[in-house]
Symmetry: C2
């Protein structure tokens, strides 16, 4: 993540543009303050034009070397939803700080847009970056991704229910724009939620093929948020448990089964429009092109599971462990036949299948996690479930349907969150601009 001399030269203008910036062509003064809190902001040169055009051009140059390495942050939909699932996740939930106002929120989203548009192209968070600024200031960028390519980084940003209204009221003047669909999730059977791994005013999903790149993104976006929003909880994940393109082999979860065989794929435009993207005809209008994200941290009692006989494991899932074929026969991609008794009435594959749920589908994008182990010597491990849907009611219906899932004996839902995912930002604008228009 090094800027070229050309890029640095383009940024040598004064920082007057920062004060006037209403589009993310640089970090706001607040964002710079977060980066420079140990010193002053004087001397930090972040000029108009520093970020987007230069960054994108550099990104293209690098993309020529590795065609799949860099995804544009800007676009009709946010990246990181149908993007081919990367190998690593760092997910972060944030709460807005007390006594912040609408301008704080808007400037934060502008700063995040600016930084995200650069980091997704393999650049530092600002033009001065990790080592290009004054030696008498803290660097803008924390530096651990220097020399690393973009690594397929996507940054996906969401708005939680509390952002629109919480016990402090309508802090940001957006309560009237809250989507009716953005409900607080109801309690589900088996919930054992830790508030410290749940909820949040804002979320950022950072996915990359190099964990250091994903961590660098969350760390620097947290830093930029200084004084405006604070990290509430975060989660690292690996070994994706879903696929979004047919070219990706179906990965395995920590129960050893293939997971996500029937996921919605990125080229299935009709299914995406029906099940994932908020339509122009949906309310509110600012959510058109967006989606809703549900995150569930699902602890898996793997030591208990590992002692279940193979035939019973197959019965619980409704597929065979080796091939992943439905127990009604065929191969992995054969449609399950629910007419007979080959697949148990409470097998996971039956309860979750669209045919058993009025055609409801969701786009899954989860990751495995291991957070060390507990005092009993058991791995603290499981699935960090992420799903995107046009309406959270899809998830709620499916999750209620799973209340009799045979698999529940081996699961504990310990974290939960829901966020509205606005459409992608337009180049020159910022994420969520339609909400504040």
């Amino acid at each position: 993540m090094n800027d070229t001399g050309a890029d640095a030269a383009a940024d040598s203008s004064s920082d007057e543009a920062v004060a006037a910036a209403s589009t993310p062509t640089g970090l706001s003064r607040r964002g710079l303050l977060g980066l420079a809190i140990g010193g002053g902001v004087a001397g930090l040169a972040v000029g108009a034009g520093a970020g987007l055009s230069g960054g994108v051009a550099l990104g293209r140059a690098r993309a020529a070397e590795d065609a799949l390495a860099a995804y544009d942050f800007f676009g009709g939909h946010q990246a990181g939803i149908t993007t081919p699932v990367q190998d690593h996740l760092h997910f972060a939930s944030f709460d807005m700080m007390p006594r912040t106002d609408r301008d704080d929120l808007v400037s934060l989203l502008q700063d995040w847009t600016y930084a995200a548009s650069r980091m997704t192209q393999g650049l530092d968070v600002s033009a001065t970056g990790a080592v290009g600024g004054s030696a008498e200031e803290p660097p803008d960028d924390t530096g651990e991704a220097q020399g690393l390519p973009a690594s397929g980084l996507t940054i996906t940003i969401g708005f939680g229910p509390g952002l629109f209204e919480n016990e402090d009221g309508d802090r940001y003047g957006i309560a009237a724009s809250r989507p009716a669909a953005l409900v607080r999730l109801p309690a589900f059977l088996g919930d054992d939620l830790d508030p410290q791994a749940s909820h949040g005013d804002l979320c950022i999903q950072a996915c990359a093929d190099d964990p250091q790149v994903a961590v660098h993104a969350i760390r620097n976006l947290s830093r930029i948020a200084f004084g405006r929003a604070r990290l509430r909880w975060s989660q690292l994940g690996f070994g994706k448990t879903s696929r979004t393109t047919a070219a990706q082999a179906t990965p395995r979860n920590l129960f050893g089964f293939k997971d996500g065989t029937a996921n919605i794929l990125a080229d299935d435009t009709a299914a995406l429009d029906a099940h994932v993207w908020v339509a122009d005809s949906d309310e509110p209008a600012w959510m058109a092109g967006g989606s809703y994200l549900v995150a569930r941290k699902i602890a898996m009692l793997i030591e208990t599971w590992d002692r279940v006989r193979l035939s019973e494991q197959d019965t619980i899932i409704g597929r065979d462990k080796g091939e992943g074929a439905p127990l009604s026969g065929g191969t992995e991609l054969t449609e399950p036949d629910f007419s007979g008794s080959a697949i148990d009435a409470n097998a996971h594959v039956r309860l979750a299948h669209p045919d058993q749920n009025d055609g409801i589908r969701i786009l899954r994008r989860g990751y495995n996690y291991v957070d060390g182990n507990n005092d009993l010597g058991r791995l603290d491990a499981g699935l960090f479930f992420l799903s995107y849907q046009r309406d959270p009611a899809q998830f709620i219906t499916l999750q209620r349907r799973l209340s009799t899932d045979l698999m529940n004996e081996y699961l504990r839902h310990v974290g939960s969150g829901i966020w509205a995912i606005p459409r992608g930002a337009t180049a020159g604008s910022y994420i969520g601009a339609e909400l504040f228009a």
Copy 2:
């Protein structure tokens, strides 16, 4: 990780060999019990010849596709020390269970050898594996690595001081063979050790280029240990902070600096013999060809560090952040010149340098870690430091020398462990056999 039909056929003999096994040609009854605790052991066919020869042959077949993907578990030195540093780490510390005896320990090491020799070749932990056994038994292998290549997996096993003697005495009849060098580490300035992230009778370092493969290894080795040893603590790491070959670019730690520039490289045989491998002339004889491992979990106060001005960061490290060159001039690989004042008297690079420590060197193999965040919204992140040395006194001397390191203000040592790393196992034998001979 699927066996071929040929391999499975070779294993169709009776399980009589299991009871007689004194070399790891299959899992012991105790190991099988760990795997099958939910059912019985009857029907599990693990025959002589199941593991090593078949596994290695299959590994070679796969290695033809990806020459660097599979490292042999057997050899004069254990793999995972000078092996080119892989991208991911799962490190685990174990305590022996109460009332275990010498036979338990030996059978555990035999079982670990057998399973490690297979998994490092991209195979399941046993010939029946994840789906090849009886459907009426729990599978031998947990299955999440099915379909994944060996991914450069290395498994490195060590013996802690407590294995030789602890408050329960000489449990395994090996106290007299304890290396004098295997001391319990003294307290160092700045230590704030969590017993739940420190020490342990045994350790396993699993490194791989796919985190799911490293996690699979630790999970299955933990499972095999059932009734004999229990996971005490474990740590995931990523984004290696050292290199062991000149071809590897020097990676960056979470302070954003290049780390491990002056590490001992795998092709520097003279330095390895002088500083890393226990010599034939060293005591005790069973440690010849081995090494000593020190692990330190070092929390980095990254939010505080990020507010330090660039010039001060450079001063603390003694190198410039961009290039990694010593402040005395030159490029990354230029030797630092300590004669002038360009490098502060307490800069990290000065205090840690061999020239300032009577030529002492160690082989570093650490990883970055991020374990979520704390209640203040700060990332719980740092360096999981791993070093190999011929004598732990090398580490102790260096660590004491670092007591005035300017960097200490931004570090907390929260975990610590030391283990004797025996020589590599000979094919047909098991890890540590020389200790029990």
